[in-house]
Symmetry: C2
Subunit: 245 residues, 2 copies
DNA sequence: TTCTTGATTTTTGCATGCAAAAAGTTATGA
DNA sequence: TCATAACTTTTTGCATGCAAAAATCAAGAA
């Protein structure tokens, strides 16, 4: 799967670093620093930066280097509806071609997930949850759909990962997943499409609420400030809550 | 809009070259040849190739250079449903926020398009047609949605552009556009979503049929052959029919 | 102090060079 | 004739160097 070339390796590594929250949104990322951090020269690094920028994880400003793309409420409002409609489509297609075995796998993941929910194991819940959504996507056998979805999901991954949500919302999300499993079991394409879309809409609201809260609690002001003022304390890289949404 | 840097310029130029059909799908594109053609050195060219590859217009094989991505029937089957659901979403969102003025603009484009249809002006019809779809997308004010759509559309652009279609299908497409305009005028979100999706499904069928025909008529065999046998005559770059779909 | 203006340092953009891999060519033997 | 091996050429991947742009720092004026 992974290409053996150095620049592909660099793409993966920086992507993972972003996913792990090692950078703050809006932060400048000088080439030299990354070169030293990854022990590579500038040429393959620059090639990697171009790729990450076209994935939407970085912003490249001519002559002014790379910045980590910032997740804003506007961003979430743009991306979640698209993910919702893509998952909805995936559900529809999946109903038409998913095998009993594949449904059983999803059912297993579902019960695993509900067990984590009962035990309040957020991180494990998150993993099982993501795995279910991926299984539905993969059941379409449409690689472009999966890639498009993952590209969008990657851009908001951190916000989603960090968003704490209320017990009520958590319970609701599990209830929605019951409906998802039910519709899938009946292979009811339109019901599955509907509930997946609703599920994503609700998730969007949760993540947005968490994002607003984070901004307010950390900087004392709402989002949208000047990203250049990076002296302002936000979060130390790597130091942040981890919770599922 | 366009970034002033050389590698961005190169991305645009190669993308345009691909859109103009200056390459054959599956064809190898050596760096040296492109360097000479564009009068640039390898470093910014290679950066550009990485970007185009992540846009899906090129395939990069480690140590083996770049190839023009090939448009296959499987490709179309993957991409068109996604574009359909994205346009469908765009239509829904647009209904909720489009202004009367914007609808008037679309109406003007629509009548312009139908005039071209009456006069059998394929190329002009194509332009007006595309403009209408873009207006609906832009009316969502969702840049990520537009970008995602355009990225997918770019990958199958040539096939769509080259596909000749029957008079019947052309008439049907225009009829569908009447319905689109009608639903938009009534701001009937679900009707617009429905007709846009159907419209894209039908377009997919048309383009697929044209692709099959082209493959058969040019190589005497169906698609899926070894792309390495590039000595085989397909189409000379730049020499191809232009017609709307 | 705050705001310019100019010098210095840093960073970015691009060209070039070298080594390794792949592709192409010739030679040899069955 | 075909297959294989050895050799040559081409192409790719990456490191480095230099010039231009941006950022930073410093000194002086308002």
């Amino acid at each position: 799967m992974t290409q053996a070339s150095l620049h592909n390796e660099i793409v993966s590594r920086i992507r993972d670093m972003i996913f792990e929250g090692e950078f703050v949104g809006g932060q400048r990322v000088p080439e030299k620093q990354l070169c030293e951090q990854l022990s590579v020269s500038r040429t393959p690094l620059r090639e990697a930066l171009k790729v990450l920028a076209s994935e939407g994880l970085l912003i490249l400003l001519p002559n002014r280097g790379a910045r980590i793309a910032q997740i804003t409420a506007e961003n979430l409002d743009e991306i979640f509806p698209i993910m919702g409609t893509l998952e909805s489509l995936a559900g529809e297609i999946a109903c038409g071609r998913i095998s009993d075995d594949e449904i059983d796998e999803i059912r297993a993941l579902h019960f695993q997930m509900t067990a984590h929910h009962k035990r309040r194991e957020l991180s494990k819940y998150f993993m099982a949850n993501q795995a279910i959504h991926m299984k539905i996507l993969e059941a379409t056998n449409n690689k472009t759909l999966v890639a498009t979805y993952l590209s969008l999901a990657g851009r908001i991954r951190l916000a989603r990962f960090r968003a704490n949500f209320s017990q009520d919302r958590w319970d609701q999300a599990v209830a929605e997943h019951e409906e998802i499993l039910d519709a899938l079991g009946r292979r009811d394409a339109s019901a599955l499409a509907q509930i997946l879309r609703t599920h994503l809409e609700n998730t969007c609201q949760t993540v947005k609420a968490a994002l607003d809260k984070e901004y307010v609690s950390e900087s004392g002001s709402v989002a949208g400030g000047n990203p250049d003022r990076e002296k302002k304390k936000q979060l130390n890289p790597g130091e942040h809550r981890r919770s599922p949404c």
